[in-house]
């Protein structure tokens, strides 16, 4: 009996150990369940599964595991990932807001502000194009998660120093051992674990999903929707789904970066994808987050210029700047929604909120005071 429970007790002790000193979270305890939460084999609704496999960007060398995502969760919320132990990924990517920030610019480790807002992290696993950040400069999630850690404004950490820090910790070697088969800590494994955690953040339990599960087509009226929500859905399908539901993809991603007429006349204004690719036609193009949970991810746009969904829809309806690189409304022009149509659209977009995800303890901060 002791042979069976002995290692288990040691493991429970290890996983509940007080985090090391010299950081603001020093008074926090890492609390993890003895049996890891289940991040794998989640039962997705049928309409979701129809396209999920096709769009899944999980690489063969980093499959999602419960232990891997657990390690990623701990890393995600650990302030030691920043150079001065003040800032974690979760400082700016807030669960209650679909892992977005509520401010146009996020505050970094020394109080400096980023020049773009922190994007929502929901359903990134199913962004088929697998390019990340507003300018799509990261070619996969494993690469993406390491860049903010090293960014001088955001977390300012040196990855080699981080590996040393985690190696001296009482908790991490065991967590890495469970996730990867041995206790070695490397930069690559940090990236893989964080990517697994981010891939595990999947929203599929909204009122939209409940209604969608009971009809044949997304264009059918949903019996759990109000008349206004069904009107908004119809408007969305007719006017917005070309980009936001391309080929029936119910992740609500735009499948490629797009120019939506946000041009700024300042020559040094953010050029988005064009600043990375140096393709003139891509200046002013930005990646679009999934619309799932859009109700809670304000402010909107790469620079957070739209405080509300109301203002965002007004942009598409009336105020988009004519841009030589304009993509989304070529050649139809401004959509000119009526006031009634706008509120119907917003009512529909609010049905994409997934309250379960926003409070799911599997994605919450495991460091508790």
């Amino acid at each position: 009996m002791t042979r069976i429970f002995g290692p288990l007790l040691v493991l429970v002790f290890v996983l509940n150990v007080v985090a090391l000193s010299s950081r603001p979270a020093a008074k926090s305890k890492l609390k993890l369940p003895a049996t890891p939460y289940r991040y794998t084999n989640v039962e997705l609704p049928a309409h979701f599964k129809q396209t999920a496999a096709k769009h899944d960007n999980t690489p063969l060398d980093n499959p999602l595991t419960d232990d891997g995502a657990t390690l990623g969760r701990v890393l995600f919320y650990d302030t030691r990932l920043s150079a001065n132990n003040t800032t974690s990924c979760g400082s700016c990517h807030v669960q209650a807001h679909a892992f977005a920030d509520t401010k146009p610019s996020s505050k970094g480790l020394h109080g400096g502000l980023t020049d773009r807002r922190a994007m929502p992290l929901v359903n990134l696993r199913y962004y088929q194009r697998a390019r990340f950040f507003w300018d799509e400069r990261a070619g996969n999630l494993e690469e993406m998660v390491l860049l903010p850690i090293q960014n001088r404004i955001e977390m300012g950490q040196d990855l080699k120093r981080l590996v040393d820090t985690l190696g001296r910790d009482a908790t991490y070697p065991a967590l890495f051992g469970r996730a990867f088969g041995d206790r070695q800590i490397t930069e690559q494994r940090i990236g893989k674990a964080l990517a697994q955690f981010v891939r595990s953040i999947v929203s599929y339990q909204s009122r939209y999903d409940e209604g969608r599960a009971r009809v044949q087509s997304a264009q059918d009226d949903f019996d759990n929707f109000t008349l206004q929500e069904n009107r908004g859905k119809a408007l969305f399908m007719r006017n917005c789904s070309t980009c936001h539901m391309k080929d029936g993809n119910e992740q609500f991603f735009v499948p490629t970066a797009a120019n939506t007429g946000l041009r700024d006349n300042d020559p040094k204004a953010d050029g988005g994808v064009g600043d990375v690719t140096l393709k003139p036609m891509e200046l002013g193009s930005f990646k679009s987050p999934s619309l799932r949970n859009v109700e809670v991810t304000a402010p909107y746009g790469h620079d957070g210029r739209f405080a509300t969904l109301d203002a965002l829809i007004d942009h598409y309806s009336d105020n988009a700047i004519l841009d030589p690189n304009l993509g989304y409304m070529v050649p139809v022009g401004p959509l000119k929604f009526t006031t009634s149509e706008k509120w119907a659209l917003i009512a529909f977009l609010n049905t994409l909120t997934d309250p379960t995800l926003l409070s799911d303890r599997r994605f919450s901060n495991p460091f508790v005071k």
């Binding site: 399908m237 990375v276 003139p280 700047i321 989304y328 139809v332 000119k336 009512a347």
Partner: protein, 192 residues
């Protein structure tokens, strides 16, 4: 969610949009043009980061998200991009092909517009009958001349009619450009 309505109700006091006001043509770009399709615009833009005017753009003069350009284009290994290097980078990228993909929504024309309004019965059936008359497809872009709009005006209430006009106008714009319902421009990820 800031000021957006909760529960889908429009706040009181919001006036409906004015009907029959023709949409003005979009204004031409004004002021300094920061973004354009010409490679020269991009060369000029990168050059604008040369804060100390030494004819080179160094790593520190670029935002961190763009500093990878130095490694891509710094042929003479001086940790900066001179204008020849900038030009070479931009020209190499500009030569890559773009694919423009537009997809139309095949949603039943005016019949679909009526269905989208979610009218109560029998108003819905009456409206569907009107748009299915052979002459209904004519002049949908000009509400002042179309018999269909007059018939709809007599059938629908103010809000329904306003929404019908807006949706039919969008439909007519789509029809005028050959059934294209909007689209997205994509490019090969090559070269990133």
């Amino acid at each position: 969610m800031g000021g957006s309505p909760v529960g889908g109700q429009a706040p009181e006091g919001i006036r409906p949009a004015v009907l029959f006001t023709p949409a003005p043509p979009p204004p031409p770009p004004s002021g300094p043009v920061a973004i354009g399709r010409s490679p020269q615009a991009l060369i000029d833009r990168l050059g604008s980061f040369d804060a100390n005017k030494d004819q080179r753009v160094s790593r520190d003069e670029l935002p961190e998200r763009m500093q990878g350009l130095i490694a891509r284009g710094d042929k003479n290994a001086d940790a900066a991009l001179d204008f020849d290097e900038i030009r070479a980078l931009v020209n190499a990228a500009a030569s890559e092909r773009f694919q423009v993909t537009f997809r139309s929504q095949q949603f039943e024309g005016l019949t679909g517009v009526i269905r989208d309004l979610k009218l109560p019965s029998p108003k819905r059936e009456q409206a569907l009958a009107m748009v299915n008359l052979p002459q209904s497809a004519r002049n949908v872009s000009d509400p002042t001349r179309s018999e269909l709009y007059k018939a709809m005006r007599s059938l629908l209430d103010d809000e329904e009619y306003e929404n019908f006009v807006a949706a039919a106008t969008r439909l007519s714009r789509t029809a005028r450009v050959g059934g294209i319902g909007g689209g997205i421009i994509s490019s090969s990820p090559k070269g990133r």
